[in-house]
């Protein structure tokens, strides 16, 4: 999927994550993560974000995430929502 616009999803509230997606000029996933549970789960969250984006076939993307201890399924859902908002193509629901 091609990131065309900037988009965001989520909130800054506890147990949620606020994600911003922007088009990026290079063919890579540029990730900025700040998390209230960074020491314990920082690497796991980064891995999850990158895997989710790769599964959606997304590159050329800048992701900024402000995590407040969201669970994996929340992180994944917020990220997918932001990506879909940033793309102009329709999602393939079976693959999500």
């Amino acid at each position: 999927m091609k990131i065309i616009n900037s988009a965001h999803a989520g909130t800054l509230e506890s147990s949620d994550i606020y994600i911003q997606i922007n088009p990026f000029k290079e063919d890579k996933i540029e990730l900025e993560l700040e998390s209230s549970v960074e020491e314990l789960y920082g690497d796991a969250i980064k891995e999850l974000i990158i895997k989710t984006l790769e599964d959606m076939n997304v590159s050329f993307v800048h992701v900024k995430a402000q995590d407040k201890g969201a669970m994996d399924l929340v992180i994944k859902a917020r990220l997918q929502a932001a990506v879909l908002r940033a793309c102009e193509s329709d999602p393939v629901w079976e693959e999500l």
């Binding site: 900037s6 965001h8 606020y18 407040k68």
Partner: protein, 337 residues
């Protein structure tokens, strides 16, 4: 969280609701800011319990009712303000608040730029300050006296040119910052071009484009609404603290030059604060000596950009010609045709 809580967003043209926000801010010891364009409020039933505002790229007027603190309402307000900003295409944001809230806003992805007098803080959610500091470092020059001037030059007059020449004479190197905000009568591109043309003969001057960190709507919002007489001393102080602590050290600035200000109260007040804050021997960074240079006069009146604007209005071009350099005069004559 209580289900009776509702969030709404509205523009500054909604006078009735803005008045309610003002009342709420009053109650919480905060001032309303006249440049806010979008407000976010949180209500429980019909009672306002939190609010916040967006002015360009600055979040401000953020307050939570004293009885409702500790419930994370501030996070809700900031979420909605961020959404409002992003929807308008503004991603790199600043935030004005009070020092007790630093931790909350850090949790929202903001970093502290500067704190002033234990009263006010300026934060940003990008890493632009660090980038700007690195850029300044690369332009650093050696010398015993590294001078600096910050000017709007709206437009460039013989007064400005005299100030720059004097400062250039007294400095090994001079850094000249031009206010970048396009909020004045003359556009930034024109203002800086006229300065560059007017000081071509000086060899020890770097002309810097200003930034969000020097007399901008972020550091010093009331500068741009001074005609309305809304002077906020704390903004002036904040701007000067940012200059001293966050910018000057990266260029090794030792002096700041400024023209005496006989007319404009805001500018004169700024000059007085400049001496207090930049030259204070106790501070986070090295003090900067402030040198006030007497303005030159024409026909017993100090030359200033405001006088130029007045003469332009009066179409008094003969007198105007005497107080601006030829390059500025030519530009002004082209502009009015």
């Amino acid at each position: 969280m209580n289900s009776s809580i509702s969030v709404s967003e509205f523009g500054s043209d909604n006078k009735r609701r803005v008045a309610k926000v003002k009342e709420f801010l009053d109650k919480n010891g905060l001032d309303m800011s006249s440049d806010v364009e979008v407000f976010v409020t949180i209500k429980d039933e019909d009672e306002m319990i939190a609010c916040g505002g967006l002015a360009g790229k600055v979040l401000k007027c953020i307050a939570v009712d004293s009885s409702r603190r500790g419930q994370g309402l501030i996070l809700k307000v900031v979420t909605h303000l961020l959404n409002a900003a992003f929807t308008r295409g503004t991603k790199e944001l600043f935030l004005f608040s009070t020092p007790k809230n630093i931790k909350f806003f850090e949790d929202c992805g903001f970093r502290l730029i500067e704190e002033c007098d234990g009263e006010v803080i300026l934060m940003e959610n990008s890493k632009n300050l660090a980038k700007y500091q690195a850029e300044l470092s690369s332009l650093k020059k050696d010398g015993d006296v590294i001078g600096s001037i910050v000017m709007n030059a709206n437009p460039f007059t013989l007064g400005h040119s005299y100030l720059i020449e004097e400062a250039s004479k007294r400095s090994d190197w001079l850094h000249l910052f031009v206010v970048k905000e396009d909020a004045s009568e003359f556009k930034f591109a024109d203002r800086i071009r006229l300065i560059r043309e007017g000081i071509k003969h000086l060899k020890n001057v770097t002309v810097h484009e200003g930034s969000d960190y020097i007399i901008s709507k972020a550091t010093f919002p009331t500068y741009f609404i001074k005609d309305k007489g809304q002077v906020n001393e704390i903004h002036a102080k904040l701007d000067l603290n940012v200059f001293r602590n966050q910018l000057a050290p990266y260029l090794g600035i030792t002096h700041r030059f400024v023209g005496t200000e006989p007319y404009c109260k805001v500018t004169n007040n700024y000059n007085q604060n400049m001496k207090k804050i930049l030259a204070d021997p106790n501070g986070k960074s090295a003090p900067i000596e402030v040198v006030e240079i007497e303005r030159i006069e024409f026909a017993d009146q100090a030359i200033s950009a405001s006088r130029v604007r007045k003469l332009l209005n009066e179409k008094n071009y003969d007198e105007l010609k005497n107080i601006v350099p030829p390059t500025t005069f030519e530009f002004l004559m082209k502009e009015i045709i």
